[in-house]
Amino acid sequence: MSFYPYLVAVWLLVVGAFGIVRSRNLIHAILCLSVSQSGTYVLLLAVGYQWHAKPPVFGEPATHPTAKVVDPVVQAMTLTDIVVSATVTALLLALATQIHKRHGTLDPDELRQLKG
């Protein structure tokens, strides 16, 4: 049990990479990249967890601050990462639409042969 979350995180990373390698469509590859990124979020949050600890928020209802909470530093890293990686996915999707406009296809194997 102490290693199961890390295994799931590495599994998501490897499965996402497998999807990119075997993909026939650029948009499918972009979504597999998104799955790989989710694997890193699971890894970060798993590193910060402590059994029977509370979330690191003391505001509502106002409770006495204690040190028996889950690690807030990795949560801060993960939450900005989620929003930023969504915009990077948007940039990649915009690139994919432009590629389709110029070359008429979204297949990575066909695109490799279009030179010159």
Binding site: M1, Y4, P5, V8, W11, L12, V15, G16, F18, G19, R24, N25, I27, H28, I30, L31, C32, S34, V35, S38, G39, Y41, V42, L45, A46, Y49, W51, H52, A53, K54, P55, V57, V69, V70, Q75, A76, T78, L79, I82, V83, A86, T89, A90, L93, A94, A96, T97, H100, K101, G104, L106
Partner: protein, 78 residues
């Protein structure tokens, strides 16, 4: 608590595999939305409400919408 965490981790792993194994991007966008909800629940169970808010807002609504619009734009010219 431990059982809940193990179950949610397995659901997230299966949903991620399903997203990768789906062929068409339109269906994949819906699977990604479900994967976002499962991830959000996993983050809640791991006592991270801020991260769960972020993931549900982004992974369930924004990314699938953009993928559907990109698919619509690229399949028109076929």
């Amino acid at each position: 608590m431990m059982v809940l965490i193990v179950i949610m981790l397995s659901v997230v792993g299966l949903a991620g595999t399903a997203v990768v194994l789906t062929g068409e991007p339109q269906r994949q966008a819906l699977m990604l939305s479900a994967f976002g909800v499962a991830s959000g629940l996993l983050f809640m169970v791991l006592q991270a409400p801020d991260v769960a808010l972020s993931e549900i807002g982004v992974g369930t609504a924004i990314v699938p919408l953009m993928v559907m619009l990109a698919v619509r734009k690229t399949e028109r010219r076929n």
